[in-house]
């Protein structure tokens, strides 16, 4: 397989790439339990976190992954940078390279910025979320979490290629504004899972008809056949036009309550990319359930990002 230079979208990575990252993630999986949870694999490398948009878990998760690989991290936060003095994107990228960055992790509120930066620089660029476009590492960590935690998949032999055939994944909520959904649908399709989108029509992107998905706006009737319920956050900060009458109305139709959880299969897993709006898309009681694996998703995020960094930085 050819060495990928960047990680910009799931489509670029392809099925082989997804499988390779998941396999590599396995070898980092037990690291957290060691007395010294670090390996010297990327010693001497410098990775720059370039975040033009707010983030808690993605940035800290990358930072943690970088540190566990013994690389050094530079963090660029737009709020206290020279961007406020008019520094351009290209200037910022070049400055970071001059300071010795061996890879750039980019998040921006406009779609396409990581691709644009990747065309300017000759170091690996990792897309950590660009506008409403893609968030590939989130999709990778979600697929890795599913492969590790869903009972249907855990039984399969260790060496067989990972496949989600027969798995039904329901993605619920604001798909229009969700870069997570965009990356995840592509990844799940490649892995062979059946994807169902449950959302009000106003929260579906115009392009969904070209995806290999089933769309439903009757969440309750879906619940019984789902193996995974993937809840998305209602992104009020991205809504330019109001797409739902009220949050309460959304909660009534699509919020995951205990009543709805009871309609799920016994082994079904509940996932959320975070941060959760408890009381909107999920009730606080459901968030506490053992089959709600939000915590595991965060832990697997570090593992998967280590795999991505290792894959891109080691020739």
């Amino acid at each position: 397989m050819t060495q990928p230079k960047h990680l910009l979208s799931i489509e670029d990575l392809g099925l082989d790439g997804i499988r390779e990252i998941m396999r590599l993630s396995d070898s980092f999986a037990d690291l957290a339990n060691r007395p010294i949870p670090k390996v010297p694999a990327l010693r001497g490398k410098v990775v720059a976190n370039v975040f033009y948009e707010n983030s808690t878990r993605t940035r800290l998760s990358f930072e943690s992954a970088i540190k566990r690989l013994s690389a050094d991290v530079m963090t660029f936060v737009v709020a206290n940078s020279s961007v406020n003095k008019g520094e351009s994107l290209k200037d910022t990228a070049n400055t970071l390279l001059e300071l010795g960055a061996d890879a750039l992790i980019v998040r921006h509120s406009s779609a396409g910025v990581p691709m644009q930066i990747a065309s300017w620089v000759d170091v690996p660029v990792i897309n950590a979320g660009d506008g409403c476009h893609e968030h590939p590492t989130q999709a990778l960590l979600d697929c890795y979490s599913i492969s590790k935690l869903h009972k249907k998949l855990r039984r399969k032999s260790k060496n067989s290629a990972i496949s989600f055939n027969g798995l039904v994944v329901g993605i619920v909520g604001d798909i229009l504004h969700s870069r997570v959904a965009r990356s995840l649908v592509t990844a799940l399709n490649l892995l062979g899972a059946e994807v169902v989108l449950a959302a009000p029509r106003t929260m579906l992107p115009p392009a969904f008809e070209s995806w290999d998905v089933v769309v439903s706006n009757d969440f309750d009737s879906l619940l019984g056949k789902l193996d995974i319920v993937y809840l998305l956050r209602i992104q009020s900060e991205r809504m330019k036009v109001v797409s739902i009458p009220s949050l309460r109305e959304y909660t009534t139709w699509y919020g995951l309550s205990m009543k709805r959880v009871k309609m799920l299969q016994k082994d079904a897993l509940i996932m959320h990319p975070g941060p959760m709006n408890q009381g909107v898309e999920i009730t606080p009681e459901v968030a506490q359930l053992p089959n709600c694996i939000v915590g595991e998703q965060v832990a697997n995020g570090v593992i998967t990002r280590m795999a991505v960094l290792f894959r891109l930085l080691v020739p």
Partner: protein, 192 residues
């Protein structure tokens, strides 16, 4: 085995062609029994002993050695595996070998760790293993057992237990399997 696997990957490539048998299956079995006795003699029994096989070539050997030790001492022996891919000093200089499982059965503080590998060559794998082990605790003592010591060391590392010393040329390849030890060469296969 590990050495052969490594040589099979690009940029080496090619096919392993055995030239002659260095040790028969019986010879390796006797060597394992002798090494087991030497380990017990030197450490005055099997207390605090942890046997770690280096992935991938040392793993099979480790299980055979542990089995012999258990038969001799009538006590269970702690066995683990160690993959040093992330600790190597040539990361990035050559293609990455697929990672294999690392399993350390217990905290290594105050344990006697015996590292096991099939072939000792440059010593760089063992150097990486020493670094890796220190991440799991401070062993009271680390010893090295190998089936074949073929020379050409690049770092000051010396084995404690050796099945057989074999002088080799650098370009030769040693293949240790359950059926014995073969010496041979990698032969390039012409790409079509």
């Amino acid at each position: 085995m590990a050495e052969r696997e490594r040589m099979l990957r690009p940029p080496h490539g090619g096919k392993f062609v055995p030239r002659s048998e260095v040790m028969s299956a019986e010879d390796t079995k006797r060597a394992i029994t002798r090494i087991a006795h030497e380990i017990l003699e030197r450490n005055k029994g099997a207390d605090n002993l942890v046997i770690l096989g280096l992935q991938t070539g040392g793993v099979d050997l480790t299980h055979r050695l542990a089995q012999t030790l258990e038969e001799l001492e009538q006590t269970p022996i702690q066995v683990g595996t160690l993959d040093v891919a992330f600790y190597r000093d040539d990361i990035g200089l050559r293609p990455m070998i697929p990672q294999a499982e690392t399993y350390i059965p217990c905290n290594l503080d105050n344990k006697i760790v015996v590292l096991v590998d099939d072939v000792l060559f440059t010593g760089r794998t063992v150097r990486a293993a020493l670094n890796a082990i220190s991440d799991w605790g401070r062993a009271s003592c680390i010893q090295l057992a190998v089936m074949i010591d073929r020379g050409h060391r690049e770092v000051p590392i010396r084995p404690d237990y050796v099945g057989k010393n074999i002088p080799t040329r650098r370009d030769e390849v040693i293949d240790v399997t359950e059926e014995g030890v073969m010496i041979g060469e990698m032969v390039k296969i012409k790409r079509q």
